[in-house]
């Protein structure tokens, strides 16, 4: 075969099911205590620092990391269960999600030991929030066109330029960003970018919120003016960020967050149609559930490959491509079916409010964290077409 794509039927081990029960019980308590409303889709509006600390206290942040950094050395599949249960419950995860999924693993791989000892335990305790500084006004999918400069100075670098579309920058304590330390070479246009750890909330950094079409302000413009970053905050090889960026993508792209973003409208539709749906509603729900189940089985399969130490970059890109297109279409398919829901359905108002929000959210899902076009390019390369 040209393309030996494998999606083995990985099953979550028994210990995951015990953990799932614990997570559900914890979330039920949080809901009962009024921390968040599971029917409210715009969980991003709630910054929940205390909730974040309680999740950390449970040992569910950095749970796959070494114990010496505050982690639990648990499996990637266990982390998967925590992530999907939080997502389905609409828990306010924004404060810790990026640090747990992405920033922590980057630090573990590339930060000096004393930085790891200082920061990683705080992520595990749910104390600090991370942002990712990749995109710039003229550089989005084309990451290697980034222009924000890091100029060498005594003991570190001076940063000048602008990052944009930076989620959570307004609440973040740290950012992991790429800055230009050298010009690209003729042979390698990806050369010259370096990854840095940036301590936020300091003079020289200005965070300007940007309104989104959902009405939220969760991404930002971040302007750096002669902002100083010390030498020991360089992550990995100077000028060599391009070598570091790709292998982590499998973690970022294949998780349950890549198909569950609008899941709540499906639950609410099932509630609205009641126990005896007409044929059209039953058929519509059946198809959506079959597609959801398939997505999840693919995603779990990739999680199993990651756990086994593989780098399933193409498989992960397929999961994100299919998953995000699915979660983008979901509110519209639910809307099709909601048209036939009885006016008397008790949750009709909730469903309509959720649809309103999900329909506004939908366009971003195939853009954030790697556009559909970029993903299909990666898949095409995996097929030997590029």
């Amino acid at each position: 075969m040209t393309a030996a794509l494998r999606f083995d039927p990985i099953r979550l081990p028994e210990k995951c099911e015990q953990l799932r029960k614990e997570v559900r019980a914890f979330l039920a308590e949080e809901i009962a205590a009024g921390t968040f409303d599971p029917h409210k889709p715009n969980r991003e509006d709630t910054d929940a620092p205390e909730f974040s600390r309680r999740v950390g206290a449970k040992g569910w942040l950095g749970m796959t990391w070494p114990k010496k950094y505050g982690g639990q050395e648990r499996s990637f599949l266990e982390r998967y269960v925590v992530t999907e249960e939080m997502r389905v419950a609409n828990a306010p995860t924004r404060r810790f999600f990026v640090a747990d999924r992405q920033s922590g693993p980057v630090l573990i791989k590339y930060a000096p030991e004393h930085i790891k000892m200082e920061i990683l335990p705080r992520i595990c305790r749910g104390e600090i929030c991370f942002a990712i500084g990749m995109s710039e006004p003229n550089s989005g999918s084309d990451l290697f066109a980034a222009k924000t400069r890091a100029t060498k100075t005594d003991g570190g670098y001076l940063i000048n330029g602008t990052k944009i579309w930076t989620s959570s920058a307004h609440i973040a304590d740290y950012m992991i960003a790429i800055f230009r330390t050298s010009q690209p070479t003729k042979e390698n246009r990806r050369h010259g970018l370096t990854q840095f750890l940036v301590k936020m909330k300091q003079p020289g950094i200005q965070v300007n919120p940007i309104g989104q079409i959902t009405g939220q302000y969760e991404f930002n413009e971040v302007v750096f003016t002669d902002f100083f970053v010390p030498d020991d905050h360089v992550l990995g090889e100077v000028d060599g960020a391009w070598k570091q960026a790709t292998s982590e993508l499998a973690y970022e792209r294949s998780g349950p967050e890549r198909f569950l973003e609008t899941y709540y409208v499906l639950t609410e539709l099932v509630r609205a149609v009641g126990p005896n749906p007409d044929t059209r509603s039953a058929e519509g729900i059946g198809r959506l559930v079959a597609q959801l189940h398939t997505m999840r089985r693919m995603s779990v399969s990739v999680a199993g490959m990651l756990e086994a130490g593989k780098e399933p970059v193409v498989e992960a890109s397929i999961v994100k491509d299919i998953g995000t297109v699915w979660e983008q279409q979901l509110p519209h398919r639910v809307r099709d079916l909601a048209a036939f829901v009885e006016e008397t359905a008790t949750n009709r108002e909730t469903l309509e409010r959720q649809l309103d929000f999900a329909i506004k959210t939908a366009p971003k899902l195939t853009i954030q964290g790697g556009t559909t076009e970029v993903l299909r390019g990666i898949i095409a390369r995996g097929l030997g077409l590029r």
Partner: protein, 354 residues
Amino acid sequence: MAESDNIVVETAEKIFADLADPQTINNDKKGAWQAPLWQALSEAGLPLSWVPDDLGGSGASLADGFALLNAAGRFAVAVPLAETMLAGWLLAQAKIASPEGEMTVLPASPKDRIAVDADGSLSGRARGVPFAKAARHFAVLAHGKDGAVIALVDAAKGRIESGLNVGYDHSDTVTLDKAQPITLKPAPKGFDQTNLMLMGGVARSLQIAGALESMLDISVRYSNERVAFEKKISKFQAVQHNLARLAGESAAALAAATSAADAIANATAFDDAVYLEAASAKIRCAEAAEKGGAIAHQVHGAIGFTLEHILHRYSLRALAWRDDFGSESHWAVELGKLVADRGADELWPLVASR
């Protein structure tokens, strides 16, 4: 399941490569390939994979049999291998020994029912029965006053109206009118037509997934050969993105089908979880057959629309297989009803249980 890692699949792939090469078969207008292929498969004991040794079969595991069906899909095998396997499996549920030769199962649609009379004779009509015309025996699931029965019937006892499915394979209507079976036994407790349809649906899902793997393979190869506008068409971004989507559909079909096969192979009962897995596989694989097949044809252009080219052996069969043992529309309605009946807050626990 791209590469075989078990002896059953290895054996089958060798036979398929030698005797079921799609191009050779496509060039053979008289069907001379059929007899040698069936003979080789029979000598290797593959059609009766799911029949225990003491009932005349080769006693392979469910998992190995499923992997074999996936491989058969990769070669678009057009002999009643899947049908004989399913028939043998059905008969074995009631401890009925399998005879030699081609078999098929009826009914093959959830809408049709065969009735058993007090005298043990069988009556009813089954439509869309795959390869009924080629079968020497039928494995029949029938219902009577005392519940479900399983029977072995001489094919000569049925009236067959011959038909072809969209993939040019036999899909026939079989009418039984007080037909006396060779053997008839009660079905095991709890076994009913839904079990047979789910099992048949998973078999078809694996075949569709296999066909899609091959469609992806030959489409990628063709795009790397065909030159248009002075470059290989694989270098056009529009073509690349189409092929990436085909890879996605192929991957989704494979994941859904192998997951359902794994679920059945390890199940102690056909519970809601198995139902979710098997119904989802049939629904998702059928959708992939449509979307993926359309892309494979688009990439091939006019040549893929010709009888000379092998693409249609995969694309049309994958589309035809959607109809057997309940279409995706049927299973979507049934799965939707099951989900609605369990209630909104039980949906996620069901999905997460897999």
